[in-house]
Every structure is written in C-alpha cells, then in structure tokens.
C-alpha cells in the first residue's frame, strides 16, 4: 500500500511539473506584456511593478487588420470545406453510382500528395490566376486540401444514420435534398462543427502559404504579421508580448465554448482517417 501512495505522488509531481512548464510561457507572456524594456531587464521574472497597459492599445492598433484578414480567411475556408465535403460525403454514403469505389480510392490517393511537392506550382498557379494579395489565394487551396479528411470522417458518420429515417422522409414525399437538409445536417451537426473547428485552427495557424501569397501589409494574416513584429530592429518587448497575447484571444474564446466538439473532431479525424 505504501508503494502505491508513493507512486501516485511521483505521478502527480511529474504531471504538475509538465503542466507548469506548459503554462509558464503563457504566464510569462502576460506579465511581460505590460513591462517596459527597462523593467523587463531589471525585474525579469517578477510581477510588473508599473504596468503599462497602453501597450495593448498600440499593439491592437497594429494587428487588428491582420486579425480580421485571418478571421475572414479562416471563416470562409471552414464554410467552404464543410459545404464541399458534406456534398461529397453524402454522395458516397447514400448513392449507388458507377465508379464509386474507384473515385473514393482516388480521393484517398490525393490525400497522400504532400504540401512540399505542390507549394511551388501552387504558388505559380495562384500568381498566374492573379490572386496574389487577395484572400482567395489562401482560401481556395485551403478548401482543396482541407476537404479530403473531412469527407472521410463525414462519410463514416453519414453511413451511421439509420436507413429508416431516410425512408420515412421519402414516404412523406420528401426529396433527396430534403433528406440532406432536414435529416443529415441536424444529425451530423456535432461532427460538422468539429471538422469546421479543425479547419479554423489549421488555417488560422498556417504561416508559409500566407507569407508567400499575401505579402501586402494590408492583406497579411495574423501569423505573418506577428512574425514581422518580432523581426524588427528595435524590439519593444511589451508591445510584442501584448500582440502575442491578443493574437491568442480569438481562438481561446472560440474554443472555450466548443472544446468538446473540437477534441472529438481531432481524435475522430486521427483515428478514422
């Protein structure tokens, strides 16, 4: 019994240590976001003695354009992914048609095309289409690559919907479209939500693609904007840290309301795909 108590306290101590190391950077970012450069040097680890809250105002001013750019791109990409992939997933789950298995297998193959292979020609393509410095330069490729996993997850989910429910709608004279709108969508809402959140997270965090296709100050996304912030010659640390803190807020808020769906989406995507 004594060894059990001992191993439990080692367990708890280890987890506490990991949790501390995980959360400390966030704490440090917050306390440093209101320190001047001089205070950061003299009072590095301590709480701010003379908090400079105005850093938040000035950094918000600088990153609000980036934030709304990222918001537009992530939102449209997520909606696009959901519309396109729910249609395909519905077709694969419900219809019998020629070449069904072959087409599904082809999609599986497409999933294996890696980003490093396509980044150069995709850039040339987007440039030739005249999309550089427009949100579509990011949104269209995001939809193209984000839909595949979503189709697989949704297909499995759609197939689990009892056949009798479809038949009862058909008997009442409902069309296939009716089935899709009033049965499948409400039924699959949790999985739709969670796949949407995964898309938001991926697109919000992407760095290299927006770095390439949205170089204009006014069109830049948040990740690129933050990177440029840290890249300057004279760094005002308080301002950088307050910008980093602000950049974390939108997703924090979004995910604190939807954590359950999000975790479910991530794990089901990884296990089923």
């Amino acid at each position: 019994m004594r060894t059990k108590a001992w191993s439990r306290s080692v367990n708890v101590a280890l987890l506490l240590f990991f949790a501390f190391c995980t959360l400390y950077p966030l704490y440090f970012m917050l306390i440093s976001s209101v320190k001047t450069n001089a205070e950061l040097q003299s009072n590095f680890f301590g709480l701010p003695l003379d908090p400079q809250f105005q850093y938040y105002g000035s950094s918000l001013n600088k990153i609000k354009t980036y934030m709304s750019n990222s918001g537009v791109i992530s939102a449209i990409s997520a909606i696009g992914v959901l519309v396109v992939s729910s249609l395909s997933a519905y077709a694969f789950a419900r219809f019998r048609f020629y070449g069904k298995d072959a087409l599904f297998f082809t999609l599986l193959l497409f999933l294996m095309i890696p980003g490093v292979l396509t980044i150069i020609p995709q850039f040339v393509l987007v440039k030739n289409l005249g999309l550089i410095n427009t949100p579509w330069a990011a949104i269209l490729p995001y939809i193209a690559s984000g839909q595949l996993v979503t189709i697989f997850v949704m297909r499995t989910f759609f197939e689990g919907i009892p056949k009798e429910l479809f038949e009862s709608i058909k008997i009442d004279g409902g069309s296939e479209f009716r089935c899709f709108i009033s049965l499948v969508i409400p039924f699959a809402l949790p999985i739709i939500l969670s796949m949407g959140l995964v898309t938001v997270l991926n697109t919000w965090n992407d760095f290299f693609w927006p770095l390439l296709v949205l170089p204009d100050q006014q069109k830049m996304t948040l990740t690129v904007g933050l990177y440029r912030f840290m890249d300057q010659q004279q760094i005002l640390y308080g301002q950088v840290f307050s910008a980093m803190s602000l950049a974390s807020v939108p997703l924090m808020v979004l995910f604190s309301f939807t954590m359950k769906f999000f975790v479910q989406g991530l794990t089901s995507g990884a296990i089923k795909a």
Partner: protein, 296 residues
C-alpha cells in the same frame, strides 16, 4: 429501374463535382506541374523563358553538400520526434489515465489542451525570445543563477547548440493531439483485465509493458507514420528560429526547397527537391501499408 439508377448517378456526380474541381486544380495539376518544373532551368532571370534541361537539376542537388547534409539534420529531428516526443505523449496520457477521474486529472488535461489553441506562431516566437542572447529567458536565468559562463548565443554559436536548442523548443511537448489519442486508448481497456494481472502478482511496470502499451499499438503506429510524413516536410521552426544557420547547420530539406524557390528564385531546383521529398514520403507510406498488412 435503369433510368432511376442513372438519375442517382447523375445526382452523385453533381455532388462530387466541386470536390474534384478543387482537387483537380489545386492538387492534381500542381503535382504534374511540380514534376515538369523539376526538369526546367527556371529562375528569376529567365522567368518568361524557362528551358528544358532534363535531369540536370537532380544532378545539381545530389551534388550539393547543403542538400545532402540537410538529410542528416532531418534524421536527428525525426528520430527525436519519434522517440522523445511520442514517448512523452504516451507517458502523459498514461499518467493522466492512472489518476482516474479526479478533478486534478481534469485540471491537468485542460492545462495540456490550452496550448493547442494558442497560435503556433505565438509559442514559436516565445521560444525565439527564450533563446535570445541579450534579453532572452535562458541566458537571464543562467545569469541569475550565477552561471554567466554558461551563457551562449544559443541559436547561432555552433551546430550543436543550435540543433540542441531547436530540439528542446516546446518542452515538455505535450500540447498535441497525441496524449488525447493515447489517453482514449488506455481508457478503452477493460479494467478487469488489469485487475486480474495485478492479482497474479504483476507489478505496475509489467502491467504497462505487457497490457497497456500493446493496447495502444494501433494508435502508436498511426501517429508514427503521421509524425514521419509531417516531420519530413517540416521546416517552420528552423525558418523562424535559426533561418537554417549558423551557416547551413540546421537546414532541413524543406527549408532548402523553400529558400531555393522563394528566396533565390530557383524554381527548377526547388521542384527537384520537392519531387525527391515526395518520393521519400511515398516510399515510407508504401512500406507502412505493407507493414500494417503483414501484421494483421
């Protein structure tokens, strides 16, 4: 019956049309283009008149020490990710699982999930600051401990410190979906199996190696191949923290590709590197499928 079937097919194709349009334009066409460009001498000077040069780009990169060495650097990062990062995720998942459903376990779970919703750029920039030579946290900490002689330009002093710093970035590396997947795996085991093993006198260690670990083998296999495929293409940390330096000491193949294509404007060379990486990834995928099949 037959016309109905035809109608159904037509509806299905209509539903699939957007997917295949997107895939065709943004994935399939670029794939063929990548192969074509890899045979071209195409750079900023002759942007409007690229020239077909056969395999010359491939010859050039395979004779390029930076490209060859980048695979050695990559091997270090991949090995680290597969062993240490995976190991820590399994460990974290297991430790939380052992706690059962207490409030403390709930708190720890949340603590590990929060970093997942922090933009990756924010945490990467934090680590850039951590290693920063004059105001950075690591040197500051060493200074306060009286260890000034240990202070270094961590990301630029030598290949050893630069790679070491990149490897330690993100410690304790639990902010992934990994530990959630493993936790779910551990939780799926019937408690009575573990109990009866205990009754037979098995130690906690034996239970872990003989019962719990084999249980998550499917998840472990899946994450291993995902880490491999993702890791081969990864170059974000190197780009942001060290820019591949000092010299080319932390340059990985993906960064070689990116720099050649988008900083030096050598699209042909970059594409040749891209096709090479693609072939390596494809090889791993095929081997993995074979391996999984032969085991089941």
């Amino acid at each position: 019956m037959k016309p109905l079937r035809l109608m159904e097919s037509r509806a299905a194709y209509l539903c699939l049309l957007p997917t295949f349009l997107f895939v065709g334009l943004f994935l399939v066409y670029p794939t063929f283009e990548a192969i074509r460009i890899s045979f071209l001498d195409w750079n900023l000077r002759n942007y409007y008149h690229p020239e077909f040069v056969g395999l010359s780009n491939y010859r050039e990169i395979f004779n390029n020490d930076v490209f060859i060495d980048s695979f050695r650097v990559l091997a270090i990062f991949l090995g680290w990710q597969l062993v240490i990062l995976q190991g820590i995720s399994v460990l974290a998942g297991y430790l939380i699982y052992l706690l059962g459903t207490s409030r403390f376990a709930g708190f720890i779970k949340v603590a590990f999930i929060i970093p997942m919703v922090i933009p990756g750029m924010v945490s990467t920039l934090f680590w850039l600051f951590f290693y920063e030579p004059t105001n950075g946290m690591l040197n500051m900490l060493l200074g306060q401990l009286g260890l000034e002689s240990w202070q270094k330009v961590w990301l630029g002093a030598s290949q050893t410190t630069a790679i070491g710093s990149l490897l330690m970035k993100g410690f304790p590396w639990i902010s992934g979906i990994g530990f959630l997947i493993y936790l779910a795996g551990f939780q799926s085991l019937d408690e009575s199996v573990r109990e009866s093993a205990r009754m037979d006198g098995a130690s906690g260690w034996t239970v872990f190696w003989r019962i719990d670990l084999p249980l998550i083998l499917p998840q472990l296999k899946l994450t291993t191949i995902l880490v491999l495929i993702g890791g081969i293409q990864q170059y974000g940390d190197q780009y942001i923290l060290t820019k591949g330096g000092p010299g080319y000491d932390t340059t990985v193949p993906g960064l070689f590709l990116f720099n050649n294509a988008f900083n030096y404007g050598k699209l042909g060379i970059g594409s040749a590197a891209g096709v090479t990486l693609f072939l390596i990834i494809a090889l791993f995928t095929v081997l993995n499928l074979r391996f999984m099949k032969s085991r089941t």
